[in-house]
């Protein structure tokens, strides 16, 4: 298993990624597109003000995809690079972009699976270099400094109650 690196995404990369996702959502006729990390953290969505519980969606989609990859290994398949769930009203399609990034897309009867898969495959090729660049950049992580650590420590003390039950 490859070592997990950190991921730092800057304004310019996110602007490009958001543009690509908005276009994908439009041309594929899908309801909602999200990028999540393979460790289950959401990065961005299109549309940005989606009502779904994106935190749970990211955790579950990443886990489901990871389990699928393990299934491939059990079956001696090199890899399953996509995951598809078909529902009555909506469908879910998950595809790997890089080692650390997954593309999640939901769509209903207003579009066709083939159309979504076609545009998604194309978009993965566009997104891949953007995130490969992000994975190699670490300098911007300097926002996590000692001041941040001190302030976060105070916030943590304030967030959690002290008392116990029973």
């Amino acid at each position: 298993m490859a070592r997990r690196k950190g991921l730092v995404i800057n304004d310019e990369q996110m602007r490009q990624v958001d543009g690509v996702l908005a276009k994908l959502q439009r041309v594929s006729g899908s309801r909602f597109v999200a990028l999540v990390t393979t460790s289950g953290q959401p990065i961005t969505t299109s549309p940005p003000d989606v009502r779904s519980d994106t935190l749970s969606l990211a955790a579950l989609a990443a886990s489901s995809f990871a389990a699928t990859r393990e299934l491939a290994e059990v079956l001696n398949e090199r890899e399953f690079t996509l995951l598809f769930h078909e529902g009555r009203e909506s469908n879910l399609h998950v595809m790997q972009v890089t080692d650390q990034i997954l593309l999640v897309i939901t769509f209903g009867r207003e579009t066709q699976v083939g159309r979504v898969r076609l545009f998604t495959s194309r978009v993965v090729e566009v997104l891949k270099p953007l995130f490969e660049a992000a994975e190699s950049i670490h300098g911007d992580a300097a926002v996590i400094d000692f001041d941040y650590s001190r302030e976060a420590g105070a916030a943590i003390d304030g967030l959690f109650p002290e008392h116990t039950e029973g």
């Binding site: 995404i9 393979t38 886990s63 389990a67 976060a152 420590g153 916030a155 967030l159 109650p161 029973g166």
Partner: protein, 194 residues
């Protein structure tokens, strides 16, 4: 290291509760979910068997609010403790910034604790994790029971990294938030860029 989204001004940290079956990992998460301010937490997602044993994981997102202009979140996960679920444990551990090892303090659970502790390190090292960059806290759970090891003995067995040790009773909540606070602070301290 955490996911840092500078464009959205967001940082997400992943913390995983690890330990043998029935040691109290899910009980920790359920207590946190019950007692933390509802405005700061998301939905508790549990993938369990019909007997309410963890099949894949529990997941609880917590928001710390905005710190230095960065929205900071902790994503808490548990692993399934039963020995035959190792493939699932490896998957849940991926990308973890911090780990809480929950030890069952009962004398009768010694073998399971040691096996789980060794298994945790096997899985972390297999993933290529650098232990120095990982926040690690040992929770000695079930301290309310009568037939338990001393903290010193358990520390000798289950803490070769000299990590913080916290006594707990997850059922009543004793030590649960102290464990979480210590882990969150460790995780942030380890992510600081010198």
């Amino acid at each position: 290291m955490a996911l840092i989204n500078l464009a959205a001004r967001e940082i997400n940290y992943k913390i995983v509760y690890y330990g043998c079956g029935l040691c109290g990992k899910t009980t920790n998460i359920q207590y946190i979910h019950r007692r933390v301010n509802p405005a700061t937490r998301g939905r508790l997602v549990s993938i369990s068997t019909e007997e309410e044993r963890t099949l894949y994981f529990d997941f609880l997102p917590l928001s710390l609010g905005t710190v230095k202009g960065l929205r900071t979140r902790f994503h808490l996960y548990t692993v399934p403790g039963q020995s035959f679920y190792n493939a699932s444990r490896k998957l849940v551990l991926q990308g973890a910034d911090g780990v809480v090892f929950v030890a069952d303090s009962q004398i009768s659970r010694l073998d399971e604790n040691v096996d789980s502790y060794l298994n945790m390190w096997d899985n972390l090292l297999a993933e290529g994790e650098d232990p120095n960059r990982l926040g690690l806290v040992i929770q000695m759970n079930k301290r309310d029971l009568s037939s338990v090891f001393s903290v010193t003995d358990l520390t000798d067995l289950l803490n070769h990294t000299d990590s913080p040790v916290i006594e707990a009773c997850a059922l009543t909540g004793m030590g649960v938030f102290e464990t979480l606070k210590t882990t969150c602070k460790q995780v942030i301290a380890k992510s600081v860029q010198p």
